[in-house]
Amino acid sequence: MPRCLAIMRAASWTATNLLESLLTARALSCERDGRVLFNGLDLDIRPGDVIELTGPNGSGKTTLLRCLAGLTGDFEGQVSRRGHFSYVGHRGGLNLQLTPLQNLRWSAAIEGTDASNESLSSLLDGVGLAGYELTPCQQLSAGQQRRAALARLGFGNAELWLLDEPLTALDEAGCALVRDLLARHRARGGAALCATHQSLGLDRSLQHVLGRAA
């Protein structure tokens, strides 16, 4: 398996070696409460890459995503990003008192995305929330809330997606939806890094396993 992945990595690299990395991390080291989560970690994310970040609970997947997103500066090493990125964290970034539409409208405004109400509704349609646009998020199920959080990926103007457990609480159709979003994002030349326990089920995805060396 690892060799096969290496070959895929090489193939992916030759196909895109002329394209600049969307994200480059060099010699990342991070320690929490005296435990080394990762040490000397190098990572390149190029256009068209979908990387599954796996590892046992507590192996530092979320921490790595937060380091890469710039949410925490408590690590050593270098991270450089190019272009815009979207981060969908473990906590989805939805206010539960607002409706999915209100949440999405706010996301669009702070991300600087121009979107009409109709186009926002069509994005919610796309994640299977048709008919729930005006229901406060606290009345939605956990899976529906996750769908509402993922809807903002549909803006499609961020080159890089950093997703923390995008499949949590999603049913089969929901997982297929994420797969679909990722495939289309990749086809557009986007890239994604997903911390996940379940396989995304996407062909030609790359793997990065944390917590093995330790």
Partner: protein, 233 residues
């Protein structure tokens, strides 16, 4: 699904209005949180005639201090939720990642907080003044001093709320950080009202309040933005 690719047109003004609108909508959705500090203000003041006795002169003497201290405590009561709810649901992360410069988002949140807490307190203060037998001549000054002072309370409070956002029980720490900073506002605010009762011009105290407001308005949004980045780690 229609995969529309939306145009990016980052605009500081749009981010500000969107944040303000969002926070006001949330405030009006959770009415109890909205009304609690105002209830506390009115109820707290109504305790003084009962506790001190209904003697008009004695009440009028302590009225400026009481009215101001309760405005301060009511604001303090509402501060903990300023950033905490957003921290808990992950929207604060989105704010920090997407709004550049971040102080614009902070300023929108503080303005929403003032519109929901500080402004209603100011508008309610004549009623509270009535319960405390504050001389009618001093009421305009009370309102004016609160109008200048309550934004300062929200602005300074935002720094404390941002510093304690990552802590599970930040409430007590927040009080310890913020109350000393509120002291000058209290002194000048209550001082202005007392001056009018004593028949002295209150312009000096009001000018001091305005100066503090200008200072906090220019400095605290940056400080709170910085504190939020630290608090998220």
């Amino acid at each position: 699904m229609t995969q529309a690719t939306f145009a990016r047109a980052p605009s500081v003004g749009r981010a500000f209005t969107a944040q303000l609108q969002r926070d006001l909508t949330i405030a009006f959705r959770s009415r109890s949180e909205l009304i609690n500090p105002l209830m506390f203000y009115v109820m707290g003041i109504s305790m003084f005639p009962l506790g001190v006795g209904p003697g008009a002169e004695r009440l009028a003497e302590i009225a400026p201090g009481v009215l101001w201290v309760l405005a301060l405590l009511s604001t303090l009561l509402s501060l903990d939720s300023l950033f905490r709810r957003d921290f808990d649901d992950g929207t604060l992360e989105q704010l920090v990642l997407n709004v550049d410069p971040l102080f614009v988002g902070v300023l929108a949140k503080v303005l929403a907080h003032w519109l929901v807490i500080g402004l209603p307190l100011t508008l309610l203060s004549p009623l509270a003044a009535l319960m405390m037998f504050l001389p009618a001549a001093a009421v305009p000054t009370l309102v004016l001093s609160l109008l200048l002072g309550t934004p300062i309370l929200s602005l300074l409070g935002a720094v404390g709320a941002a510093l304690t956002v990552g802590l599970k029980r930040g409430g007590l720490l927040l009080t310890l950080i913020i109350l000393p900073l509120y002291v000058p506002v209290l002194i000048f605010g209550a001082g202005a009202v007392t001056a009018v009762i004593d028949g002295v011009d209150a312009a000096a105290q009001l000018a001091w309040l305005a100066a503090i407001l200008a200072l906090t308005l220019t400095l605290t949004p940056f400080a709170a933005a910085l504190a939020l980045r630290v608090g998220l780690e």
